[in-house]
């Protein structure tokens, strides 16, 4: 099983070559771009979730409580 894991790592030399050959500045900017894209996506998703949130709660125990107390 362990040997399989090692082989798995050795079977992707093309990707490995690309990752190793890329200059540090390209790597840095790729990471920064990834972070920006991720957080832009998170912002868009968050705003969309919030904007499409329910207009009213199915129930409110506070309101029930108040109503019960009022009666």
């Amino acid at each position: 099983m362990s040997d399989t894991a090692i082989e798995f790592g050795r079977r992707i030399p093309r990707i490995a070559r690309l990752s190793i050959a890329a200059p540090p500045s390209l790597i840095r900017w790729t990471l920064r771009a990834t972070t920006v894209v991720l957080f832009v996506g998170a912002t868009a998703f968050g705003v969309s979730l919030g904007m499409s949130g329910p207009d009213s709660a199915p129930t409110s125990v506070v309101h029930h409580h108040t109503a019960a107390s009022d009666q």
Partner: protein, 435 residues
């Protein structure tokens, strides 16, 4: 560089301010006059739990500004306090909501519980609560000691699912429903929390695996239950790892890939090589002993602020207990002070437990730094680790920055003694590991 203590204080103020706003919103919903009762408890605890869950995700996201700025051990301490608090708040919220419903509808508790669970979106919230309780139980000391690390880790991962399941209920809750901008702010809190986790706990290590191709190069025995693992890769300088820091290592073999263990570097990074030293503590760490050369390594890090950059005083005292020697060994080699101003105190129960001793002696000989070995039973006065005894070893203790890494018990004893003696807290630097 801002001190971790200051960063932590600023962050804590912001977190508590957010908590106060979340709770305040519950009172706004309740309206005037405020009626103190189970209903209000349900709302306050619900908002606090929802807010706390997102904060816990952020604190454990491993974002570098948190890990370096605040310190991993402080984050772990906050998490150890905050995690159970969120679970308790969630359970109290659920119970109070049922009680309030029973009171409002003048029905018995069973009928009220049925009513509450029947509310749209509450099924997923109930599942979230059950999962959180499960995580809480698994984290109890008595249960934790009986669970393997792998199982505990798996159960702990369910927290993410629980937080996601609970989210829909929060947005539809009476404190947020219909308040569009609050719903947007709440959603952003959650999407940012998950984005941080995704960025730093998943993408970063995957990227590092792809870029650095870290592999086990050599494994050798240091003592009966301690091994060292030398790993090599590409462009490791880009990691900017420093002596004293640690990674969470996942060795990609069939038997070990599921577990990530925090181990400090036991030597300064040298070229494209990193070394760790591991003590067998259970089946999981024991499996690392048989890792074949060539195994790929998935490394998260570097983490921790226990570096030489923390030094402010003209002299340094490094204190290590047992396998806590690993970060101290790495620091011992690189502290940028004349040898006579550096002392390493290394405590072990038996002579054979003094791992890396030959390296320490070699560094000491080369740099002139002093190593003091305290070996034998702790009841022996010669092995005293009190502030008084340490002061006797190094001279003027207050002139020193103290770096500490030892078992929780020994670390607590040394810390307590130093604090009792009035040793300045900001001169004590330590890293505490706990799963």
């Amino acid at each position: 560089m801002r001190s971790p203590r200051l960063t932590a204080t600023i962050l804590l103020v912001l977190v508590w301010l957010g908590a106060a706003l979340a709770v305040f919103q519950s009172f706004v919903t309740a309206g005037l006059p405020i009626q103190i009762g189970v209903a209000l408890v349900a709302h306050v605890t619900g908002m606090a739990a929802g807010y706390g869950a997102a904060i816990m995700l952020i604190l454990m996201s491993r974002a570098p500004w948190l890990e370096y700025g605040v310190g991993a051990h402080r984050l772990a301490r906050w998490h150890a306090w905050g995690g159970p608090t969120v679970i308790i708040l969630t359970v109290v919220h659920a119970l109070a909501a049922v009680l309030a419903s029973a009171y409002a509808g003048s029905i018995d508790l069973m009928a009220a519980a049925k009513d509450v669970v029947g509310i749209p979106g509450l099924t997923s919230a109930l599942a979230a609560t059950v999962l959180l309780i499960l995580v809480g139980i698994a984290s109890l000391r008595v249960v934790r000691q009986r669970l393997s690390y792998e199982w505990w880790h798996f159960v702990h991962l369910l927290t993410y699912l629980a937080v996601a399941l609970g989210f829909a209920h929060q947005l539809a809750g009476p404190d947020l429903a219909g308040r569009r901008w609050l719903q947007v702010a709440w959603s952003l809190l959650y999407t940012y929390a998950f984005a941080l986790v995704l960025r730093w706990r998943l993408l970063q290590p995957l990227f590092q695996l792809w870029r650095h191709r870290l592999r086990v190069e050599q494994v050798w025995q240091e003592s009966a239950d301690v091994i060292s693992v030398l790993m090599s890769g590409h462009h490791l300088d880009e990691l900017r790892a420093e002596p004293g820091q640690f990674f969470r290592w996942r060795f990609l073999t069939g038997k070990t890939w599921r577990s990530a263990y925090p181990f400090s570097l036991s030597a300064p990074p040298a070229g494209d090589r990193l070394r760790i030293t591991v003590k067998a503590r259970g089946d999981g760490t024991r499996r690392i002993f048989t890792i074949p050369v060539g195994t790929l390594v998935f490394a998260e890090g570097p983490y921790g602020a226990l570096t030489r950059r923390r030094r402010r005083r003209p002299r340094v005292l490094l204190i290590a207990g047992g396998v806590g020697i690993t970060p101290m060994r790495a620091l011992f080699e690189v502290i940028d002070l004349p040898g006579e101003d550096v002392t390493l105190v290394y405590r072990a129960s038996r002579e054979q437990d003094l791992v890396l001793k030959h390296e320490l002696d070699e560094i000491s000989e080369r740099s002139g730094a002093r190593v003091v070995y305290l070996v034998g039973p702790s009841t022996d006065t010669a092995n005293d680790m009190s502030a008084h005894a340490l002061n006797r070893i190094v001279g003027n203790l207050s002139d020193h920055d103290v770096y500490l890494c030892a078992s929780p018990r020994l670390a607590a004893r040394v810390r307590g003694s130093l604090m009792d003696r009035g040793f300045p807290r900001h001169q004590l630097h330590e890293e505490r590991f706990s799963f």
